[in-house]
C-alpha cells in the first residue's frame, strides 16, 4: 500500500488483511471464471464486460482523477484490437508480442494527441478527441490494403493455454484485477495526487510545484494504454474486429459507463460497465430499432450528470462515508523543521525594474526592491497599486513585460510557475485555492512533495512531515478531514501549511488577513512571527496596517505601479507620501474636494 493510505505502522498492520482479502477475491474470481458451468453466450458477455472495463479504467484515470475529457477511447480500444488482429493474422506475430506492440503504439499516439491539445484545456480536448476518433474510423474503413476495410479482420487467434473461452475469460479477469489494483492505488501515489490536484485547481497545482502539463499528458497516455489493452483482449475474445465496433458511438458508451458507475474509482467503472453490458443484453428488443438504444444512452448521460454527478459508486460511498473514515493517527506529529537553503548572499530575492503592462495599462511599472534574508518584508499600497500583479509576476502566473527576478542569485524570470516553486518559491492566494476534494493532510502532502524540496526516506516520513506542517498551524487534530469542512480562516491556515511543508526559501503571502475576524488575525500574526523565528523569509501583501506594522521589518510601498517608498518599516510608515497615498492628501495640507 502506498504512503498515504497507511501512514503509520499500526495502519499498515490493519491494511494487510484488506490486501489479502483482495488477492483472495481476485483469485476466486479468476477460478470462478475458469470453472463456472456457463454456456458460451454468457462467457462472451463476461469477456466483453472484462475487456470493456479495462478500457473504462482508462477513463477513470483521465476523467475521474485528472479531470480531462477523452472522447476517443473507442479509437484507442480499436488500435489495440487491430494490433492483435492484424499482428496475429497478417503478420503471424505471437499474441503477446502483438499486444505489446499495440500498447507501445497506443501510448505514443495518446501522448502525441495529449501533447498537442492538453495545453489548451477542456473544450479543445473534447473536440480534438472527437476529430481523432472520426479520423481513425475513416482510416480503418478506407485504408483497405492494410486494415481490410469495412470487412474487418476475422479468425483472430488466442494465446497458447488460453484457447478455451473459460481459460480466456479467466485470463481477462486476472488482468482486470491487476489493472484494477493499479488504478485503485494510483490516487495515493505522487503522480495520482498530482492528477487530483490538477483536476481540483490547476493554478494552485502549478504553484505547489506540479508540472500540470506533464501530469495531464501522463494521464492521457495511461488512459490510451488501458484502452489499447482492453481492445487487444477484446480482439482475442471475439476473433473478429471491424471498424464499426470502434466508432464514436462506442466512445460515448465508454463515457456513459464511467459516468454511470462513478468516475472517481475503478469500482465505479466496473459497476458502470457491467450494468451497461448486461442490461442491454436483457433488453435486446431495444436494439431492434436503430437509434432507440443510443437515444436512451444520450438521455442517460444528461440525467446522470444532472442527478447523480458522482455516479452510482459515489452515491453508495456517500452513504457509507461515516464508517469509511481513515483511522486517527496514534503517534504525535513531530516539530516542523524549516531549513531555508543556506546562502552567503544577504538578499533572498532581487526584483529589478519589474514591469507588467496589460495593453496600455501599466499595472507594474519598473519596480525594484530587495528582500533581506530572514524576517518579514511587506509590500503595501492602495487598491490598484499593482501589489497582486507583482506577486503574480513573481510566482510566474504572469510573464513580465520587462525586468528581472532573482532568487538567491538565480534568475527565475523565464521559468514556469511550477519550476519557480521547485526553485524555492512558495505562495498562498488571496482567494483561497485548495484542492477541494482532498483532506487537509493530502493538500499539505502535495506541498511537501515539492520538487527540489525536502527528501524523504519513506512514505511514512513524508506523511510525518506534512503532519508536522499542519501541527505548526494548529490543525493537526483534523488532518484527515476534507478541506471543505474547515472554516474560512482555517482553510487559509491549511494553504499556509501547504506552502510551508515544501520548505521554501521565500514564502509569498497574498493578503492572508483578508476576511479573517480579529481573533483569527491575532492568531495569524503569531503564526507569522513563529515562521519568521524559524528563519524563513516572508513577503506579505496586506491591507491590514496593524498587522503589517506588527510583523514587517521592511516595507516596500507601491502606488500606480511604481515604488514610492522602501526601507525599514517604522521609517516608511512615517513618510508623508506614503500617508498621502493612503489618505489621499498630505497630513497637514487640506484635502482636495
Amino acid at each position: 500500500m502506498s504512503a498515504l493510505a497507511q501512514p503509520t505502522r499500526s495502519v499498515r498492520a490493519r491494511a494487510l488483511p484488506g490486501m489479502l482479502a483482495y488477492i483472495a477475491l481476485a483469485a476466486l474470481a479468476t477460478a470462478a471464471a475458469f470453472l463456472a458451468p456457463v454456456d458460451d453466450y454468457i462467457l462472451h458477455i463476461l469477456i466483453e464486460t472484462a475487456t470493456y472495463a479495462i478500457a473504462v479504467f482508462g477513463l477513470t484515470v483521465v476523467l475521474g482523477l485528472c479531470g480531462q475529457i477523452n472522447l476517443a477511447q473507442a479509437a484507442f480500444f480499436g488500435f489495440g484490437a487491430y494490433a492483435v488482429g492484424l499482428g496475429t493474422v497478417d503478420l503471424h506475430l505471437n499474441f503477446w508480442v502483438a499486444i505489446l506492440l499495440g500498447g507501445v503504439l497506443v501510448a505514443v499516439l495518446g501522448a502525441l494527441l495529449g501533447l498537442t491539445t492538453l495545453r489548451l484545456g477542456g473544450h479543445y480536448l473534447a473536440m480534438v478527441t472527437i476529430s481523432f476518433q472520426q479520423i481513425v474510423t475513416l482510416v480503418l474503413t478506407n485504408w483497405i490494403a492494410v486494415t481490410h476495410g469495412p470487412d474487418g479482420v476475422a479468425s483472430i487467434g488466442r494465446p497458447l493455454f488460453f484457447t478455451s473461452s473459460h481459460a480466456y475469460l479467466a485470463l481477462c479477469v486476472l488482468i482486470l484485477a491487476l489493472v484494477g489494483t493499479l488504478v485503485w492505488r494510483l490516487p495515493q501515489t505522487r503522480l495520482g495526487r498530482a492528477m487530483r490536484a490538477v483536476r481540483d485547481n490547476e493554478l494552485a497545482a502549478s504553484v505547489a510545484g506540479i508540472d500540470t502539463y506533464k501530469t495531464k499528458v501522463a494521464a492521457f497516455a495511461l488512459c490510451a494504454v488501458l484502452g489499447g489493452l482492453g481492445g487487444s483482449l477484446f480482439a482475442g475474445g471475439f476473433a473478429y474486429v471491424s471498424p464499426d465496433q470502434f466508432s464514436f458511438s462506442e466512445s460515448i458508451v465508454f463515457l456513459t459507463m464511467v459516468l454511470l458507475g462513478g468516475a472517481a474509482s475503478p469500482i465505479g467503472a466496473l459497476i458502470g460497465t457491467t450494468l451497461l453490458i448486461v442490461l442491454p443484453e436483457t433488453l435486446r428488443f431495444l436494439k431492434d430499432r436503430p437509434g432507440e438504444y443510443l437515444a436512451i444512452y444520450g438521455l442517460a448521460v444528461i440525467l446522470i450528470i444532472r442527478f447523480m454527478p458522482d455516479g452510482m459508486w459515489g452515491f453508495i460511498k456517500s452513504l457509507a462515508a461515516a464508517w469509511m473514515r481513515a483511522p486517527p493517527f496514534t503517534e504525535p506529529a513531530p516539530e516542523l523543521m524549516l531549513a531555508p537553503a543556506a546562502s552567503s548572499a544577504t538578499d533572498v530575492l532581487d526584483v529589478e525594474n519589474l514591469a507588467k503592462y496589460f495593453g496600455g495599462l501599466k499595472a507594474v511599472d519598473g519596480v525594484t526592491f530587495h528582500i533581506k534574508r530572514g524576517g518579514v518584508h511587506a509590500l503595501i499600497g492602495p487598491n490598484g497599486s499593482g501589489k497582486t500583479t507583482t506577486l503574480n509576476v513573481l510566482s510566474g502566473l504572469y510573464t513580465p513585460s520587462a525586468g528581472k527576478i532573482l532568487l538567491d542569485g538565480r534568475d527565475l524570470t523565464a521559468l514556469a510557475p511550477h519550476a519557480r516553486t521547485a526553485a524555492g518559491l512558495g505562495r498562498t492566494f488571496q482567494n483561497i485555492r485548495l484542492f477541494r476534494s482532498m483532506t487537509a493532510l493530502e493538500n499539505v502532502v502535495i506541498g511537501a512533495e515539492r520538487p527540489g524540496g525536502p527528501a524523504y526516506k519513506s512514505g511514512d516520513e513524508l506523511i510525518l512531515h506534512a503532519r508536522a506542517a499542519l501541527a505548526f498551524v494548529g490543525l493537526e487534530a483534523r488532518a484527515q478531514d476534507l478541506v471543505t469542512s474547515f472554516s474560512y480562516g482555517h482553510q487559509r491556515l491549511i494553504e499556509i501549511a501547504r506552502a510551508l511543508a515544501g520548505n521554501p526559501t521565500l514564502l509569498l503571502l497574498d493578503e492572508p488577513a483578508a476576511g479573517l475576524n480579529s481573533t483569527e488575525k491575532h492568531e495569524l500574526r503569531d503564526l507569522l512571527k513563529r515562521i519568521a523565528a524559524k528563519g524563513l523569509t516572508i513577503l506579505i501583501i496586506d491591507h491590514d496596517m496593524t498587522l503589517v506594522a506588527d510583523v514587517a521589518e521592511q516595507i516596500t510601498v507601491l502606488n500606480f505601479g511604481k515604488r514610492i517608498a522602501d526601507g525599514r518599516a517604522a521609517d516608511v510608515l512615517r513618510q508623508p507620501d506614503v500617508i498621502a497615498a493612503y489618505l489621499g492628501s498630505e497630513p497637514d495640507a487640506p484635502a482636495h474636494a
Binding site: 489548451l120 473544450h123 473536440m127 481523432f132 464514436f248 460515448i252 436503430p290 437509434g291 444512452y297 444528461i302
Partner: protein, 291 residues
C-alpha cells in the same frame, strides 16, 4: 484554372454553412463559457423538420421553412432549460458532457423516428443555376452565400445598434455586473440559445439540398464548424466566419486534388496544425486564467 474557380465557388458555399454553425458555437460560448456539442444536431433536426413539412406533408416551401425555424426556436428553449440551465453553476466539464449526451440523444431519436435512409430535399429555386463564364453558379450555393451575408450583417446591426443586442453582449462579458445593472441574465442566455438554434437551423436547411439529409450531417458539420472557430480564434465572431470560409475552400480543393474518401479528414489536419503552431487562431488572444 476553370476547375479552380469552380472549386472556389463551391468551397465558398460550403464554407458559408460552416461559418453559420460556427457563429452559433461562438455566441453560446461567449454567453455561457461552454461549447455546445449539440450545435450540429440543431442543423440536422431543422433539415429533417424541413423534409417532414415540405416533402412528406407537401406544404409550401416558405411555410415549411418558417415552421422549421419555429421548431428550432422551441428546441433552443427546451435545450436551455433541460441541458444547460440545471448545470449552469457547475464546472464546464459536466456541461459539455451533458451537451454531448444531448447530441447523441437528438441524432438517435431522429434515427429511431425516421430511419437510417438519407432523405433528399429540393432547393429553394426551380432554376438549377446559371453559367457565368467558366464557372457554373449553382442557385442553392448562391442562396447559401447570400443568406450568410445577410445574417452576418443582421447580427452586426443587432449587437451593435439595438438595446437587446447590447444587453446580450453585456451578459456575455460579465454576468454579475450585467445582473447588477438590471439585465435579466437568464433571459439573455435563453435568447442566445434560441438564436443559436435558429442559426444552426438555417444552416442545416440551406445545406440540405446540397448534401443529403442524414443523421450524420449534424456531427460532420459541427466538427468542421468547431475547427473553423479554432482557426479563426476561439470566441471571435469575425474569426468564425473567416475560419468557416477558409475551411470550406481547403476541403473542396483537398477533395478535388488529393483524396475524396479522406475529405472529412482535412479539417482535422488543419485543426491539429493550428493547435500546434498557432493555438490562438487567426484573430484570437491567448486564453489565460486569472489568478
Amino acid at each position: 484554372m476553370d476547375l479552380a474557380l469552380q472549386l472556389l465557388f463551391t468551397g465558398f458555399g460550403i464554407g458559408a454553412v460552416y461559418a453559420l454553425v460556427a457563429l452559433g458555437f461562438v455566441l453560446i460560448f461567449r454567453a455561457t463559457n461552454v461549447v455546445n456539442f449539440a450545435q450540429g444536431e440543431f442543423s440536422m433536426v431543422a433539415a429533417y423538420l424541413m423534409v417532414v413539412c415540405a416533402v412528406d406533408l407537401e406544404l409550401p416551401y416558405w411555410l415549411s421553412f418558417l415552421i422549421a425555424l419555429a421548431g428550432m426556436a422551441l428546441l433552443g428553449i427546451v435545450f436551455n432549460l433541460g441541458v444547460y440551465y440545471p448545470l449552469r453553476n457547475r464546472s464546464f466539464l459536466p456541461v459539455i458532457i451533458a451537451t454531448i449526451g444531448a447530441s447523441i440523444f437528438l441524432s438517435n431519436a431522429v434515427l429511431a423516428l425516421y430511419g437510417p435512409q438519407p432523405q433528399a430535399l429540393q432547393g429553394w429555386f426551380d432554376t438549377p443555376g446559371i453559367q457565368a463564364g467558366p464557372v457554373y453558379l449553382d442557385s442553392q450555393y448562391l442562396l447559401i452565400i447570400g443568406v450568410t451575408l445577410l445574417l452576418v450583417l443582421f447580427q452586426y446591426w443587432f449587437f451593435e445598434h439595438t438595446l437587446l443586442g447590447k444587453k446580450m453582449q453585456a451578459t456575455s462579458q460579465d454576468k454579475e455586473m450585467a445582473s447588477l445593472l438590471g439585465i435579466k441574465v437568464s433571459s439573455m442566455i435563453m435568447l442566445t440559445f434560441v438564436y443559436s438554434a435558429v442559426l444552426g437551423g438555417i444552416a442545416g436547411i440551406l445545406v440540405a439540398p446540397v448534401l443529403f439529409v442524414s443523421i450524420q450531417m449534424g456531427s460532420t458539420i459541427a466538427l468542421k464548424a468547431f475547427a473553423a472557430t479554432i482557426i479563426g480564434g476561439f470566441g471571435d465572431v469575425t474569426g468564425a466566419i473567416i475560419g468557416g470560409l477558409a475551411l470550406g475552400i481547403i476541403e473542396t480543393f483537398g477533395a478535388a486534388y488529393i483524396s475524396v474518401p479522406y475529405k472529412d479528414g482535412f479539417a482535422f489536419l488543419v485543426l491539429i496544425a493550428f493547435l500546434v503552431f498557432r493555438p490562438q487562431g487567426l484573430f484570437g488572444e491567448r486564453v489565460a486564467e486569472k489568478a
